[in-house]
Symmetry: C2
DNA sequence: ATGAAAGCGCTAACAA
DNA sequence: TTGTTAGCGCTTTCAT
């Protein structure tokens, strides 16, 4: 069923059918009704390719994320996808993994598919070396690129970030204030936001003159699902004679690792070990006691991202970078 | 940059360029190289719409899932998306929510976008009333529809399921054998697979003559993230004087709810309360003790789903329904 | 208010 | 091996 068939059955030209389809008001009510009737009768829907060919847009946004099974990223995708749909856009999802080459080729693929914009979910898309970010610049040459939880200053690139530095700084300060001074920083990523978080911790510790021991920075490099491995890493640290009474984790799952460590060491929480996580994800009340965690307002970030993207696509001038503040949600793992 | 530009610059016809693009072997090495050089020089990529218009396919599969932030579904999407890409297909993701109307309209949207196939992730897409499943039949009239963890006997619909009945039956039997007879069944879904699980529990309990008390079936209807609410429900049950020493949960998060209940009641696990979850998700080692859970082999299911889909798209005859067995993974919450 | 016709960029059947 | 050409289904000027 094509526009020709409809035009024939309705006794009008294809142009008129097209006008009806696109809500032009230069059609008399009478013919409009006539055409609409035929369209409904035959359940005709226009061919998206043909339309795309002419308009060169398919109202589709490409979403890239390294690993959609990461609960935090999954949640972000969920919000983004919903809000896009509410704005009449579809989304093509690409789970790229953490490899640069794969990311770049996924990006090309999306461009090839003629997406109207690209959203990079998570800070791992921004690299240290400027050269490694070229793939983003290339893409931005074609369509707007939105960064969630990452920032990059380049034309046609828009960044929506949570103020990780301040969140982490405040959380660290709070823990110090509660009387804990030997605080371990447990992290798993050196991405854009990873660095901000770390810097927040450092700044607070330094300010209080507590940043003495290098092994207080613990980088975990295993799977984000492998809680036992995280606990193991802390157990080994303890075995080496390093003691700490607080853990600030860059991610809730790492905090759960710390919690597991505490249980295996028979430590009381929060008296012997205070723990703060990050993301305020569903994991926070999977455990006992429930996890104190930093809420970085994911839904707000996503909402703003989509609003900005819609603005850009609509031709409006939009802010290149937007920063939201996080919030420490206190639960049982801190005093 | 179009195929015409390239043909001109390379001094050949557009047909030749097209042949090079599509890897036809009816092109001499010499001209092939000539064309390829120009293509690379100008970084030309073909217009997907135009190609789609002619071929009427975009090598894209629609994925529908109710809620991509559900860890289990997120994981499934992750596997599916990866395996599709490995087969040269892209995916359009639709998070539909649990409402029938939304599901139906998402379905139409995907059809409109000319996807080559549709994958329904999760059993909540199949309804009790036959009429409510009409939207699936309609879609199957256009493209193959794949069901993950659900089954439906209809032309062009293919089902890949885990044998939930047997898994649940075996798990229940195992718990009974371990000496627990008052086993609560804690569930949150009456979907296709939800019913199978329940039936498995029932069959085992009935066989052992233990199915006496109706309130042993507890349906939880809140958010899958709200562990405290799940615990609450069990606490209320206890307050009503209903006692149980085992919980079999239809989902790992429900099992965590039971675990929380046990902690609040100061019950020893597994001595006072044995717990079995379902899905063997990352949640199983978020808690203490770690959760015994049923592994339903999600990756295998997804792999098989894609293999089947590729077969169907390739024109091969494929099995309409495939059943895999689950496996009970014993951890600390059972004897 | 309506229609005729020229693209949009590509594939594939047909000719040479 | 290569080129010519007719679609694919729609949007959008430009006439009328």
């Amino acid at each position: 069923m094509t526009i020709y068939d409809i035009s024939e059955k309705a006794g009008v030209s294809i142009a008129t059918v097209s006008r009806v389809l696109n809500g032009s008001n230069n059609v008399s009510e009478k013919t409009k009704k006539k055409v609409l009737d035929v369209i409904n009768q035959y359940e005709y829907t226009p061919n998206a390719f043909a339309r795309g060919l002419g308009l060169n847009t398919m109202k589709t946004i490409g979403i890239m994320c390294a690993d959609s099974s990461d609960p935090y990223l999954a949640k972000a995708i969920y919000y983004i996808e919903q809000k896009l749909r509410a704005n009449g856009y579809d989304s093509i999802l690409c789970c790229t993994g953490y490899d640069l080459d794969t990311k770049a080729s996924s990006m090309n693929l999306l461009i090839t598919k003629k997406v109207d914009g690209i959203i990079l979910v998570g800070s791992n898309f921004i690299y240290e070396k400027e050269d490694d970010n070229k793939y983003i610049l290339d893409a931005a040459g074609q369509v707007p690129v939105m960064l969630l939880n990452a920032a990059m200053d380049a034309p046609n690139v828009y960044s929506i970030v949570s103020d990780d530095f301040t969140s982490m700084y405040d959380a660290t300060m709070e823990m110090i204030r509660s009387g804990v001074e030997d605080i371990l920083y447990f992290y798993n990523s050196t991405s854009y936001s990873g660095k901000k978080k770390l810097a927040g911790y450092r700044a607070a510790m330094e300010e209080k003159g507590l940043l003495t021991n290098g092994s207080f920075l613990q980088l975990y490099q295993g799977s984000h699902e492998d809680i036992p491995a995280m606990a193991d890493q802390l157990l080994k640290l303890h075995a080496k004679g390093i003691t700490f009474h607080g853990v600030i984790a860059a991610d809730d799952s790492l905090a759960l690792g710390a919690l597991k460590y505490a249980r295996e060491m028979k430590l009381r929480i929060p008296e012997d070990l205070a723990i703060i996580g990050y993301n305020n994800s569903m994991l926070v009340n999977c455990c006992d006691p429930e996890l104190t965690s930093i809420d970085n307002k994911l839904e707000t970030l996503c909402q703003h991202l989509i609003t900005t993207l819609m603005g850009v696509l609509g031709g409006s001038e939009m802010p290149k970078k937007t920063v939201f503040s996080g919030e420490l949600v206190k639960r049982g793992t801190t005093k």
